[in-house]
Symmetry: C2
Subunit: 350 residues, 2 copies
């Protein structure tokens, strides 16, 4: 009897559909080779669904997802619906209700992909981003709407429990990656939450004798990632800082299109969610030229999380060797279509 995982796939909008389409086929293929199965429950929860129903997912959407082994997301967003609606209606509730408090964003230079600084050869950075609290909150609103005195406020909320658990995960990650954990902060400018972040990170990492914290101000860190990207291996960052830094690192590695993101509930009480970092890119949607590497890498992270490490390695090796051959989509300077690229990947699975 083969083991079968139930995965909820939410292709979403735009190129989210293009890349998950081909990536799911690659996952099926590698699963077949490694003796397990994936049963996809494809969900049509996207901006069209919103236009029809006034919601990004059904009322019991979270409940529906909760019975699965994982969630595989393409991208959501369309010019017709405000981004805060699409995202706070789907992506963010999934992250929060499933307590996916770690957002893991690895990046390295891939073969055949030219980084922003061509002379750099060994970039290898993991961003461990806090994923459910911090600067992204619903506490706030407007005063005096429409008047000259109008203002808007939003509260950042950092909890000891929330910082502790993400710092612990990051410390474990750093332990296997040289032992230095760069903590992104702004405790000189943001005087209530970031000194607290520093304190709790320091206290948590103290319990890991092999790990030391390198506390770096977010502004200086942004510059350092551009000037000396190889001096950084593992970063722990708040929700907003992790968002910014992971895109920045992807830029240094040459492309947002290759970047994966795992939204993890490390205790596995709830399903985790895997997605490429890129958005829905409405301008190239449906043209068959979207880069599926971010989606494939995210799928490999999902297989790894499910315990199918060999399949994850095979999938990763397959897209890396495809890129190494010079086969790539137009955004990376190649001429392959999404489908052609994926076909090459499939032919390389072992």
């Amino acid at each position: 009897m083969t083991r079968t995982y139930t995965i909820d796939s939410i292709p979403g909008d735009g190129i989210g559909v293009d890349v998950t389409d081909v990536a799911m086929e690659c996952v099926d293929a590698v699963a077949g080779l490694h003796g397990f199965g994936v049963s996809w429950r494809v969900r049509d929860w996207n901006s069209d669904f919103y236009v029809k129903t006034g919601r990004m997912m059904p009322v019991d959407g979270i409940e529906q997802l909760s019975s699965g082994d994982g969630i595989y997301l393409g991208a959501v967003g369309t010019p017709d619906v405000p981004d805060d609606v699409t995202l706070w209606g789907l992506l963010i509730p999934i992250r929060r209700e499933f307590d996916q408090y770690v957002n893991l964003r690895p990046m390295k230079l891939l073969p055949g992909v030219t980084g922003a600084m061509p002379e750099i050869e060994d970039l290898d950075i993991v961003v461990v981003r806090e994923n459910v609290e911090g600067e992204y909150s619903q506490i706030g609103g407007r005063f005096g709407a429409g008047t000259d005195a109008e203002f808007a406020v939003q509260e950042s909320v950092f909890t000891k429990a929330g910082i502790t658990r993400v710092a612990r995960y990051a410390a474990k990650t750093a332990a296997g990656r040289g032992g230095t954990l760069v903590s992104a902060t702004k405790s000189n400018g943001i005087i209530h939450t970031m000194p607290f972040w520093d304190e709790v990170v320091a206290r948590t990492v103290e319990q890991f004798p092999d790990v030391t914290v390198d506390k770096v101000l977010i502004d200086a860190l942004a510059a350092r990632l551009v000037m000396k990207p190889t001096s950084v291996r593992t970063i722990v960052a708040s929700n907003l800082f992790g968002d910014i830094l992971s895109d920045l690192v992807a830029g240094v590695a040459g492309s947002i299109g290759i970047a994966p993101s795992a939204n993890l509930n490390p205790e596995r009480r709830y399903p985790s969610m895997f997605e490429p970092v890129h958005g829905s890119a409405p301008d190239i949607a449906g043209k068959g030229i979207a880069n599926p590497v971010g989606a494939l890498w995210a799928a490999a992270m999902m297989l790894d999380h499910l315990g199918e490490e060999a399949a994850a390695r095979s999938l990763t090796a397959a897209f890396e060797s495809t890129l190494a051959e010079g086969i790539a989509t137009p955004d990376l300077g190649g001429s392959a279509t999404t489908l052609e690229f994926a076909r090459e990947v499939r032919s390389r699975l072992r």
Copy 2:
């Protein structure tokens, strides 16, 4: 009779002292050549002052500064005093009480300075940063200190008036620089303040027929500044986003040590403040090797603000031609001391 400007100089800590020392001499020299004078009121307000008095500046510090024509700051900060104390005791109150709501941070590739991406040749970016509200606020605090339930909150505050005036300044800046104003936002993740930012920026810039807004999410913008830095000319950003982006842009241009910052009260009701972007760098303080370019560029911005445009141009040309000769401090790969560099600059003033 020659015109004399009264400038309050606050060398501050660490290399703040090293760079302002030599930069003030260069300013005196160029003033002499251009027929005006500068009367410096040098203030010893720094971390030592704090250790002695418990304050970063005297109780009537702001009042003392208010009678001057401008403020010239080195850098503040020392390992012995928490950063939030040094900065919220001096830098931030000056910015706020003098309503220096525009923080102007220009950056370009300087001759002889290698940018992070050597193939880029025409980088020229101005960041217009909101400087008195936004994410930096004192509203917030801790709940349940010492308990497991401890959490910290901090409120971001964005006002219509505050966004409008910085957007207007930025629109005027962009009008003279190609007409596209990149507005840094995060309206998909930060749901109260950033959609409001977008709205007010759009409404303000509408009044400038020659300017169009290019609204870019902060994460994508960070990546774009690395991958296509020459596609961006003028940025308007909130306090925090402007802080991060301006350091990032300096990193792209090759060095934080060259970056200047003008804290402007555009209406000239209060003195404006000019400072290099770099910090106090305690590790190299007093060694005579600090890079004075950021301080010199900031001084040139001060002269420009005072209406002494010719002197400003002369000072800028002098440090640029020094760099073009290959004369530079060690951080830029040269072997000049701070003093030697400044002497070269002085000899080139016209």
